[in-house]
Amino acid sequence: MLKITDLRASIEDKEILKGINLTIKPGEVHAIMGPNGSGKSTLSSVLTGNPAFTVTGGQVEFYGKDLLSMPPEDRAREGIFLSFQYPVEIPGVPMVNFMRTAINEKRKYFGQEPLNAADFLKLMREKRAIVELDNKLASRAVNVGFSGGEKKRNEIFQMAMLEPKLSILDETDSGLDIDALRIVANGVNKLKSQDNATIVITHYQRLLDYIKPDFVHILYKGRIVMSAGPELALELEKNGYDWIKQQVDNEQ
C-alpha cells in the first residue's frame, strides 16, 4: 500500500530525513523506534503533508498514487491518518461539528451523500465506545480541557470514525498512565484488520506489548539503519541504542 523510496526532507534548510526506504503492505504493523532527534516525527509529518517541512527528494506511493503531490486533506481522504504526539486544541469548534465536517468532506470526495444527523450520531456513539470516550467530551470543543489521556483517546476515536487504511501513531503512549495505555492500545487492536496497516512510532517496548509489531525499524540520523522482527524492540529495551549508534558511526 505504501512505498517510500529515498525520501529526503528538511526544515528551514536543515536536512532531517536523508533517504528513507520503507514498504508497507495491508495487515502489517510496523514499529519505528530510534533515539530522540532521529527524524521519527518528521517522517510522520512529511507523510501527512505538514507545510512546515520541505521534501527535497524521493517518492512516496500510496496505492499507486503519488502521495507527495496531494494536499494534506486529500491524503487523509485517501486513507492516511496521523495520531498526533501533541493533539491540537481548537477553542470554539465543537467536536461534533469538527467530526461531521471531516466525515462529510471525505464522503463528498468519493461522490457520496453526506450522512444524515441520526446516522452520524449513531456512528459517533458506536465509535466512542471503542475508546470509552465520555459523551461530554464529544460535545466540547476539540481537545479543549481534555486531559493528556483523553486527548490520546480522542485521537483513536477520530481514527475509528475515519477508518483509515494506514494509521500512523506518533508516540501515542507518551503521557498515558497504564489504564489509559491499555484502553488506547485495545482501541487500536479492535480497529486492526487484514486491509489496514499501522505505523507505531514509540520509544518504549511497553506499547508494543499491546500492539504487536510485525517489523521493527530503527531510525537514526534520518535513515533506517536496521530492520528486524519484534525481537529487536526487546533487545533495545535491554541494551539501549548505543551499540547501534556505534555501528552506524563507525561505518561512516
Partner: protein, 451 residues
C-alpha cells in the same frame, strides 16, 4: 471642499418644506443643530478618533433626500418576507426613510407604544418633547446633521412597570433608483422597571445604487429597566452607514447593545453610554465580518458617572481580503465613582495579509478603588489547528471557516435571546461559506429565509 455645506444649503433653501412635513418637537431642535454646524467640518482620515476613516468622502456624493415625504412605490411589507424563525416579533419597516407597519405591528401592544415620531407628537407629546434630542450630542457634526434634517422616525416607549412580551423588530431597507440619503431616527424610552428587546436590521435591495444611512439612536433606560438592543447590518457594498447611538442609564438599569456587521460597504458606528445611576449594568458587544473592500469603524465611549456600576465590552472583527477595520474604545471613570467594574476587549483576526485592523483601547480613571481592564489582540489563523483539521480530511477552506466561526462564537453566545442566538450562528456560518447573499426568496436577497 466641505461636504456638509451642500446639505446645510439644502436645509436653508427648503427649511419650510422640511418643517411642514415634520412635527413641532423635531422642528424645535433645528436652530440648535444649525448653530452647531456653523463652521463645523466632517472629520477626515487622521483626525482624532477617525484614524482610519474619511467621513468627508462619505458625505461628498450628491445624495438625494426625500424632503417632501413621498411614499415609495410598491408594498414595502411585501418586499420583506424574511423573519427570525420561531420568534414572533412586532415588525416595523423603514423603507428608505418612510415608516410602515409590518407583521404583528400594533401601535400599542400590551402597553408598549410603538409609533412614528409624527404620531407620537399628538399621542405622547410629553415623551417626545421630553426625550427627543435629550442625549444626542450635537457636538458631533453627523448627529447635528441628522437633527437638522430628520423629519420622522420611530418611538418605542415602554411605560413604568411594562414588559414587552414580543421583541420589537425594525427593518431598515434601501430601495431607490437614485443615490439617496436616509435620515433615520430612533428613540427608545423605558420607564422604571420596564423591559424590552429590540432588533434592528439594515438591508439594501437596490444594490447598484449608492446610499447613505445617517442614523441617530437614543436609548433612555429608567430605573431598574432592561433593554436589549441588537443592531444588525446586512447591506451592500454600495451602502454607507453613519450611525450614532446614545444610551443613558438610570440606577439599577441593565442595557445590552450588540452591533453586528455581516455585509456592508462603509460603516461608522459610534456608541456613547452614560451610566448615571448606581448598580447599573452595561453590556456592549460587537461582531464584524468583513471581506472585499468593506470598511467598518467602531467607536465607543462608556462614561461611568456613578459608583458601583459594571460594564462589559467586547468587540470582535474577522477581516479578509482588503477589508479595513477600526476600533477605538474609551472607558471614563469619573471622579467619585468607587467600586466601578469596567472591562473592555477587542479581538481581531486578519485572515488575509492585506486586511488591516486599527485599534485603540483607552481607560481614563479618576477614582481609586475600581476594577478596570482592557485588552486587544490582532492575530492570524492558527496554522497548527488548520493542519490538524486537514489531516482529518477537512479542506483548508472549510478549516478556515470553522476557525473564523469559532472565533465569533463567544460574542454570539452573549446574545440574550435564544432564538436570535441560533439564528446568528446560522447567519454567520452562511456569511463565512459565502452563501449569505445568494437567496432569492424576497427582494432583500439576504438569504435569511429558511425552508
Amino acid at each position: 471642499m466641505n461636504a456638509l455645506k451642500q446639505y446645510i444649503d439644502l436645509f436653508v433653501e427648503h427649511r419650510d418644506t422640511i418643517e411642514q412635513h415634520s412635527v413641532a418637537p423635531l422642528n424645535a431642535l433645528r436652530d440648535k443643530a444649525l448653530n452647531a454646524l456653523d463652521g463645523a467640518v466632517l472629520p477626515r482620515r487622521g483626525s482624532e478618533d477617525y484614524e482610519a476613516t474619511d467621513l468627508e468622502a462619505v458625505f461628498a456624493p450628491d445624495y438625494g433626500l426625500n424632503i417632501t415625504r413621498v411614499n415609495f412605490d410598491g408594498n414595502p411589507a411585501e418586499s420583506f418576507r424574511c423573519d427570525v424563525p420561531n420568534m414572533s416579533t412586532c415588525l416595523y419597516l423603514c423603507f428608505n426613510d418612510m415608516i410602515y407597519p409590518g407583521a404583528n405591528a400594533v401601535r400599542n401592544a400590551g402597553g408598549v407604544v410603538i409609533e412614528t415620531l409624527a404620531q407620537a407628537a399628538t399621542s405622547h407629546p410629553d415623551v417626545l418633547t421630553g426625550y427627543y434630542g435629550s442625549i444626542a450630542d450635537l457636538g458631533d457634526p453627523t448627529v447635528a446633521l441628522n437633527t437638522l434634517l430628520a423629519q420622522d422616525g420611530i418611538l418605542i416607549y415602554i411605560p413604568d412597570g411594562v414588559t414587552a412580551e414580543r421583541p420589537v423588530q425594525l427593518v431598515n431597507i434601501f430601495n431607490a433608483m437614485q443615490p439617496m440619503m436616509a435620515v433615520r431616527r430612533l428613540l427608545i424610552v423605558a420607564g422604571r422597571n420596564a423591559h424590552a428587546r429590540i432588533l434592528a436590521c439594515d438591508h439594501t435591495q437596490s444594490k447598484d445604487v449608492k446610499h447613505l444611512s445617517l442614523q441617530t439612536i437614543e436609548i433612555i433606560a429608567g430605573e431598574d429597566s432592561t433593554i436589549d438592543f441588537y443592531d444588525m447590518e446586512e447591506s451592500a457594498a454600495t451602502t454607507s452607514r453613519v450611525s450614532s447611538l446614545f444610551v443613558k442609564q438610570a440606577a439599577g438599569s441593565n442595557v445590552l447593545v450588540d452591533g453586528i456587521t455581516l455585509t456592508n460597504g462603509f460603516t461608522r458606528n459610534d456608541y456613547r453610554v452614560d451610566v448615571d445611576g448606581e448598580h447599573a449594568e452595561t453590556t456592549l458587544l460587537g461582531m464584524t465580518i468583513a471581506g472585499d473592500s468593506q470598511h467598518v469603524d467602531t467607536h465607543t465611549v462608556i462614561n461611568h458617572n456613578a459608583p458601583r456600576c459594571n460594564s462589559n465590552e467586547m468587540f470582535k472583527f474577522v477581516l479578509d481580503d482588503n477589508a479595513v477595520g477600526a476600533f477605538a474604545g474609551k472607558i471614563n471613570v469619573k471622579p467619585g465613582c468607587p467600586r466601578v467594574e469596567a472591562y473592555q476587549g477587542n479581538r481581531n483576526l486578519c485572515a488575509s495579509p492585506t486586511a488591516r485592523m486599527h485599534t485603540k483601547p483607552q481607560l481614563v480613571i479618576y477614582t481609586d478603588d475600581v476594577k478596570c481592564s482592557h485588552g486587544t489582540t490582532i492575530g492570524q489563523m492558527d496554522q497548527d489547528a488548520l493542519f490538524y483539521m486537514q489531516t482529518r480530511g477537512i479542506s483548508l477552506e472549510s478549516a478556515k471557516t470553522l476557525l473564523m466561526q469559532a472565533f465569533m462564537s463567544d460574542v454570539i453566545d452573549g446574545v440574550r435571546l435564544e432564538v436570535l442566538r441560533d439564528r446568528l450562528h446560522h447567519l454567520v456560518e452562511k456569511r463565512f461559506n459565502g452563501t449569505l447573499s445568494a437567496c432569492a426568496t424576497c427582494a432583500t436577497a439576504c438569504n435569511n429565509h429558511t425552508k
